[in-house]
């Protein structure tokens, strides 16, 4: 195959535009730019929060002021003016909504465009959806059906009102406010998010899902998700995100906390497709997320699956603390960067309990002028017997202007631990493409085939409808590019 032809196909495909970049024209209620204690009091008051929430926010804010933005990541982030961000913005709407018909038609149109099964389809899809737009939760579907089983699935603000005891007990226990710069910022200003509580012995009958969307200009989105899984329960949780195309960068700093008790299991899947900026690297979302789960009980299980295709800058390390004996965690990730995107992402597995197991499979794909880094930590503490870890981090390079980097950290303090890490970096082989060409598959399809095969291991771990979307996203993001 001629090189020019390959290049042409590469250009066509890698230059395809972001298809979620529309702005929804709805009125927003915001509180203006800037961050200080008054703003935090105002956010808290607007949300009619109990006092413990305000105290929590102020404590976090005071701590945040003493912190500096971390610089260790392999990212080039322009300085962020934290006073130039609107910390609270919510779609204006009337009283609480009872049925789907009450939802603002503009918002509904937005979600129709996104293809979220918010309507009747949701019954077919059997997915309960909580939608967070800018900062507020718009609508949680299927709430009643879940309540029958004792499952709580609602927006974080509602949970603060209705279940303050649970929030007080669990909030900030996995990601404390002092944890890192962005976690402290989120703890101070977070506006909404989702709360999930699965009672003892209940297997959540449907997949729970949240869609996040940043709509308004100049806003930052700071949501917080808290999932508590009691003994012997199970839940599969999905998270998706999009944002409109804008020239300036927007900030997204979220926290996810997951608590898994004895014999319980949580699956957490993410399809992250924030606006990545245009071809010249203008605009896009800064995605600084702290996700952490704790396998507190014996034989508990936590699985992370993520497909990361969006964001101008991604700084994200979903991690698991394996505290309960025999607990296990898996991390599956596909991170795609194109144009000027930068991603520094990976995971942390902290082995504390005996006979704990973790698996890390990370697949990075870089194209254009992007930089894609895997950064991970596997730590086996001194008194942790029989820990087992296997990590594999592969990188695929499409184009000669992009970078793929791997920064694994292995800290092992117990002789019974078995830890393996391996990584490879390569491009799609000309022989592989030639092989496909020979069999009548054109170059573009061949590359799609190879990339999909490469990412299959991860995509297979995702729930069905997510897997389909993830595969489509992969194709949009870079199918067909070869250097």
């Amino acid at each position: 195959m001629a090189k020019e032809e390959q290049d042409k196909i590469l250009n066509e495909v890698t230059e395809s535009e972001y298809k979620y970049g529309f702005v929804t024209d709805i009125e927003n209620d915001d509180i203006g730019k800037g961050l200080n204690e008054d703003i935090i009091r105002m956010i808290s008051a607007k949300k009619k929060e109990p006092k413990f929430m305000l105290d929590f926010r102020l404590k976090a804010y005071r701590h945040w002021k003493t912190m500096k933005m971390p610089e260790w990541a392999y990212l080039d982030i322009p300085e962020i003016d934290y006073q130039d961000i609107i910390y609270y913005s919510t779609p204006k709407q009337k009283a609480k909504l009872e049925s789907m018909d009450d939802v603002d038609p503009e918002i509904r149109a937005t979600f129709d465009k996104l293809g979220i099964p918010l309507d009747e389809q949701k019954i077919l899809a059997n997915v309960a959806v909580d939608v967070v737009m800018d900062s507020s939760s718009v609508k949680t579907t299927f709430k009643e059906a879940l309540a029958e089983k004792g499952i709580i699935f609602c927006s974080f603000s509602e949970a603060v009102q209705d279940h303050p005891d649970l929030i007080q007990e669990y909030m900030g226990t996995v990601v404390p406010i002092q944890d890192n710069f962005f976690a402290a910022l989120n703890s101070a200003v977070f506006s909404d998010g989702s709360f999930v509580y699965i009672p003892k012995g209940v297997r959540c009958p449907m997949e729970l899902s949240t869609y996040f969307r940043i709509n308004a200009e100049n806003t930052g989105q700071f949501e917080r998700t808290l999932i508590v899984c009691e003994e012997e329960s199970y839940v599969s949780y999905l998270e998706g995100c999009t944002a409109p195309m804008r020239d300036e960068n927007q900030l997204h700093a979220a926290i996810v906390e997951i608590i898994v008790k004895d014999n319980a299991e949580v699956k957490y899947s993410t399809v992250q497709n924030w606006y990545p900026g245009d071809k010249n690297g203008k605009g896009g979302i800064y995605n600084f997320v702290t996700k952490r789960g704790i396998c507190e009980g014996v034989n508990s299980k936590l699985m992370w699956a993520q497909v990361e295709t969006g964001s101008a800058v991604t700084w994200k390390y979903p991690s698991t603390i394996l505290k309960g004996d025999g607990s296990s965690s898996e991390f599956y990730s596909v991170a795609v960067t194109n144009n000027h995107q930068q991603a520094d992402t990976g995971t942390k597995m902290i082995h504390i309990g005996n006979n704990t197991k973790s698996t890390i499979i990370s697949k990075g794909i870089s194209a254009g002028k992007s930089n894609n880094s895997y950064r991970g930590l596997v730590k086996v503490s001194k008194n942790c017997e029989g820990a087992r870890n296997f990590s594999q981090c592969d990188s695929l390079l499409l184009g000669d202007k992009c970078g793929a980097h791997t920064f694994p950290y292995l800290e092992i303090g117990n002789q019974s631990a078995k830890v393996e890490h391996e990584a490879t970096t390569s491009k799609i082989g000309e022989d592989q493409i030639f092989y496909c060409n020979q069999r009548g598959i054109n170059t573009e399809d061949a590359i799609g085939l190879i990339v999909n095969g490469y990412a299959k291991e991860v995509i297979n771990k995702m729930p069905m409808e997510f897997a389909v979307e993830a595969q489509k996203l992969l194709q949009i993001s870079l199918e067909g590019s070869v250097g």
């Binding site: 000669d400 092992i412 391996e422």
Partner: protein, 453 residues
């Protein structure tokens, strides 16, 4: 416990007060580099754990000690050639001695070296061979990056200088023995320079020995330039007593078609930090970087390596293996850089560790930073214990457990030893490692380790 500021200030005082002695006897080029280096050190200071590259090695306890510093060559009251004799059988080398970082004044003349080969002290080389010396000195070890290199360059007075002219092949390895012998606790600063010209071949063995029990800190920097088509081997054997600190930075630059093999074997030492930097600056280079560490008690070893593929079509192989026992702690950091347009690069890196006790710790970070797409790179790291199946296999054949473990450990370490291209040295190190793994202190005779424990 002194904090880092006090330590840095002490060095500033030393530099300012000892300035006259520092300048004395050194060439203008050395003194000019010295001044700049000190300015860099004032900015950087001794690296602390806040520095990502020194995350796993705390240097404060190593530096927090009243060391003596010799800014002038101290006459040795005995004949070191008599006291020290390398006892490796059949290892026929051209041997030179260094004492406390200085080129020994009464070294025997090396009569068997081919014509044009220079082996002497750095101070002497700066005076006698300025055109060679000035072209290379301070060119590869950058002082604005690492505080230890800046400190070394600021305080550097002497070390060894080896020059191999164009086309010369040295059959017999050159052996450099760094002796530490003092009646007081001592900090030694040693600065070495090795220049291998086009089509030349040389093998250098560097051994460390402590002759007295005092606490030693050695901060040494070695710069190496390997020109086109040259073949160069560097073997470093670290075997000092528990009360010593070895900070050893090596900077190797390779030109096209050159082939370099380095093998760093750490058998014993209190705290060891090896910084190993390689830059493949022209096409078609081959680099092999190997290392092995066997640590017990509360020894600490940290191998930090960086292989920089600056140009296309180069090959690098990196392999480090370690066995950790008792409360020993170890760290490995490997970083492979593949710069933009360094296409057709092949880079492989691997680090394997055996942990023998629950108090031993190993931290490893094998890293890849890749900015070119047509490359084949891989890295891997493992930490584990001995293979139970292999153990069972041996036991089933009537080998007792202790011996079986011994055999497996030895086999584990032998993979690295096998890479040595000097046969007698290979046998010798095999023997030292075998003894070491049996719990006997492996030592060359006349070594202070013998009487220390």
């Amino acid at each position: 416990m002194a904090d880092i500021n006090t330590i840095n200030k002490d060095f500033a005082d030393l530099f300012n007060q000892g300035n006259e002695l520092l300048l004395e006897g050194s060439s203008d080029v050395m003194n000019k580099t010295r001044k700049n280096a000190f300015q860099d050190f004032a900015k950087l200071g001794v690296p602390t754990r806040a520095n990502e590259n020194y995350k796993y090695t705390n240097l404060i306890p190593a530096f927090d000690h009243p060391y003596n510093v010799n800014l002038r060559y101290q006459q040795v009251d005995v004949d070191l050639n008599e006291i020290f004799q390398c006892d490796v059988p059949e290892l026929d080398t051209n041997m030179v001695l260094l004492t406390n970082g200085w080129y020994y004044g009464n070294n025997k003349e090396l009569t068997e070296l081919p014509k044009g080969v220079i082996v002497c002290g750095v101070q002497e080389a700066a005076e006698k061979y300025p055109e060679i010396f000035n072209a290379h000195y301070g060119k590869y070890a950058k002082t604005d990056d690492d505080g230890l290199v800046a400190l070394n360059t600021a305080l550097a007075k002497d070390g060894f200088f080896i020059y191999v002219p164009k086309g010369v092949v040295i059959e017999k390895p050159i052996q450099v023995v760094n002796l530490l012998r003092s009646d007081r606790d001592l900090m030694a600063t040693q600065r070495n320079l090795i220049v291998v010209e086009e089509n030349a071949q040389a093998k250098i063995i560097v051994c460390d020995h402590t002759l007295t029990h005092h606490k030693y800190l050695t901060n040494s920097v070695t710069e190496v330039n390997v020109a086109r088509n040259a073949i160069f081997d560097l073997y470093t054997l670290q075997n000092q007593h528990l009360n010593s600190v070895i900070l050893n930075s090596t900077y190797i630059r390779q030109e096209s078609n050159s082939n370099v093999l380095s093998n760093t074997i750490s058998l014993y030492g209190g705290t060891i930090r090896n910084n190993h930097h390689v830059i493949l600056d022209e096409e078609h280079c081959e680099n092999n970087t190997f290392g092995m560490y066997l640590m017990d008690r509360d020894q600490h070893v940290d191998n930090f390596t960086s292989i920089d593929h600056a140009k296309p079509n180069c090959l690098s192989n990196e392999h480090f293996k370690g066995v950790m026992d008792d409360q020993a702690s170890g760290a490995f950091a490997g970083r492979i850089f593949v710069r933009r347009d360094a296409q057709q690069t092949q880079a492989y890196q691997s680090n394997n560790n055996l942990l023998l006790s629950n108090d031993a710790v190993i931290n490893t970070k094998p890293q890849l930073v890749i900015d070119a797409d047509d490359v084949k790179c891989s890295h891997g790291a493992t930490v584990g214990q001995m293979d139970e199946d292999a153990l069972f296999y041996l036991r089933a054949r009537g080998i007792d457990e202790k011996e079986a473990r011994q055999m497996l450990m030895f086999a584990f370490a032998h993979e690295i030893i096998d890479k040595i291209r000097v046969e007698p040295l290979k046998e010798r190190i095999d023997e030292l490692v075998d003894k070491r793994l049996r719990g006997e202190i492996s030592k060359c005779n006349t070594c202070a380790i013998a009487c220390n424990h």
